[in-house]
């Protein structure tokens, strides 16, 4: 399994990381090196095996559905690059 340059650009877009044209070939090589490394797994017999969903056997803990937190707007906005009137401000999202 290997990726071509179009795939690299597609993956970068999915990951929301800008890549320049100059960077694409090197990234392609790196990704293909890792894919080559993991290739041997395709030969392993996993028939009838469940994927691991819980690392240690554990039930999801439950609690009462009551509000126990909140009203901490200043703390939430404290690290914002751009905040105004209690909102995070970003470029227009919807046309």
């Amino acid at each position: 399994m290997s990726v071509d340059q179009d795939a690299v650009r597609r993956i970068a877009h999915l990951a929301r990381i800008a890549v320049t044209d100059a960077e694409v070939p090197h990234l392609q090589d790196e990704i293909n090196a890792i894919l080559a490394f993991v290739e041997e797994l395709s030969a392993v017999d996993v028939s009838g095996v469940e994927p691991m969903t819980s690392v240690i056997p554990m039930r999801l803990p439950m609690r009462e559905d009551v509000v126990t937190d909140g009203e901490i707007e200043p703390a939430i906005l404290a690290n914002a690059p751009f905040a105004e009137d209690g909102f995070f401000v970003v470029p227009k999202v919807i046309e």
Partner: protein
């Protein structure tokens, strides 16, 4: 041997605790000694942020409590904190530019436990960016120099390299490189660290100190910058196994804010240090004997088995057939989970923001600028293996292989084996700049003995077991049953005992 109270940073955590409790030394004295040592060792680049005023304030409070006898288990002891733990109001960036300026308005549960128990915070420790690395070379703050000198280097040569780009000096391992270097160089009495694929255990082996990655769920992950949520676990690095036991007791425990944190009582781990290994059955897994294995490492492994046998343990051969699939499967699962966890770094709510004409451009430019090359590489692999058309072939398959890996261990434990003894690393520490530039996979091979443990969720401890022919530290790993860290502390202490005295390097850096 009596601890040398004229050289306060040479004390172990346990010795420091005893000296404080008996009032032979004050926390302020102990803290000041470490702050001075940190200042002299700036060149090592172990700390990325120091908190001297806060440390002295905490030390004074500790001294007041020690005077009234209201001392907590870690009262007055100066500790370093890996940069991925949220420390309220203090630099927390997981050594990434994408979190530039971030100061959390909350505290991680693990560090909250340390302060609750009276510890003193010296500062935040260097690490590979987002915990992705095995040498601390991916940090946005630059590499950490190990306090161990490269073989045959003069002090002059080392100091010159330290003042320059550090090339050729030894790495302390990673991702908890800053934590390991600080402990080994006596810049803190112990440090918090974390382990996703070996990031506590490999640096411990490389720097001649002890470290434990406890069972998944033993410690809370609340407030830890997440890398791979099903693999990450908090743990201590310290100069002795006993010190690690003391630290883990404070770090561990149930937490309602982390639903993967087990609601299990925390035993007195220190009590297990010095217990007898008589009657314990130790498994030696044949699949860990790699082809072309470093002869010194193999010899040390055999020596470790002989030590435990001489102390009364039974040594048996065991098989963990799916061992060789663990590393490739890890390099699917961990990047996949990372791609999900690191999606939150988008320039909107915290950290770096690059401007963009629209929201997507803002995301793409921020992330391109803020993430280093290794992080970008892993995020792209992770995104790929989770994408439509590839999810089953890669991620689901890797998760199935994970089940097989865990089953291998369960079968061995069910057969009566109490713990498994393996090497910790395929080699001693290597030089900064030596690995990984041509082939990313070269660096990944460092994790070959450690990732299986994270994949299976088991506890793993590394104890410093000796020196290579070139005088560099080598460690041995013991892997245990879920929540049986006590047996690992017992075995680790037995290894230390059998090994005999092993000195850490004296300061050449200033």
């Amino acid at each position: 041997m009596e601890p040398d109270l004229t050289d306060l940073t040479s004390l172990t955590l346990a010795e420091g605790r005893d000296a404080l409790r008996s009032r032979r030394v004050s926390s302020v004295e102990l803290t000041e000694a470490h702050l001075r040592a940190m200042e002299r060792a700036k060149g090592l680049n172990a700390y990325v942020a120091t908190t001297p005023e806060r440390a002295l304030e905490m030390a004074r409070s500790s001294d007041a409590r020690l005077a009234t006898g209201a001392a907590g288990p870690l009262e007055g002891l100066p500790i370093g904190v890996k940069d991925l733990y949220a420390t309220k109001g203090v630099h927390t960036q997981a050594c990434s530019h994408i979190l530039d300026g971030f100061k959390p308005p909350y505290e991680s549960t693990v560090t909250e436990h340390l302060w609750r128990d009276g510890a003193v915070m010296l500062g935040k420790l260097n690490m590979d960016e987002f915990a992705m690395g095995s040498s601390n070379e991916t940090s946005c703050y630059g590499p950490v120099a190990s306090p161990w000198l490269p073989p045959n280097w003069s002090v002059e040569k080392a100091r010159a390299a330290l003042a320059g780009d550090k090339r050729g000096l030894l790495t302390p391992g990673g991702s908890s490189g800053g934590s390991a270097a600080a402990v080994a160089a006596r810049l803190c009495m112990a440090a918090t660290a974390s382990d996703t694929g070996g990031s506590i255990r490999q640096p411990a082996a490389f720097t001649g100190i002890a470290g434990i990655k406890p069972t998944y769920g033993r410690c809370s992950r609340y407030g830890m910058v997440a890398f791979a949520s099903s693999l990450d676990q908090a743990g201590p690095l310290a100069r002795t196994v006993r010190d690690c036991a003391i630290m883990l007791r404070s770090m561990a425990g149930a937490d309602r804010k982390d639903s993967t944190c087990a609601d299990a009582a925390v035993p007195d781990y220190e009590a297990a240090v010095g217990a007898s290994v008589k009657g314990l059955t130790i498994g030696i897994p044949r699949e860990y004997r790699l082809e072309g294995m470093n002869a010194e490492i193999e010899a040390l492994w055999r020596r470790g088995a002989d030590w435990l046998s001489a102390a009364g343990a039974k040594i048996v051969d065991v098989s963990l057939p799916n061992t060789r699939h663990a590393l490739p499967a890890y390099y699917i699962v961990a990047p996949a989970e990372a791609s999900s966890n690191l999606a939150r770094y988008d320039g909107v709510r915290y950290g770096l923001r690059e401007s963009g004409a629209d929201i997507v451009e803002l995301y793409e430019k921020t992330r391109a600028k803020g993430f280093g090359a290794e992080v970008r590489r892993r995020l792209m692999i992770g995104t790929y293996v989770l994408s439509a058309g590839y999810y089953d072939a890669y991620y689901v398959r890797a998760q199935k292989i994970r089940t097989l890996i865990k089953r291998d261990f369960e079968a061995v434990f069910a057969d009566g084996v109490d713990a498994i003894l393996t090497p910790a690393t395929p080699s001693a520490a290597f030089g900064i700049g030596e690995k990984g530039s041509a082939d990313p996979v070269e660096m990944y091979l460092n994790d070959v003995f450690t990732v299986t443990v994270n994949m299976a969720g088991l506890p793993g401890l590394v104890a410093p077991a000796g020196l290579s022919a070139e005088g560099l530290p080598l460690g041995l790993q013991v892997i245990g049953r879920p929540f049986d860290e006590e047996t690992l502390f017992t075995l680790g202490a037995a290894i230390e005992e059998a090994r005999g005295p092993m000195d850490l390097p004296q300061a050449w850096w200033a």
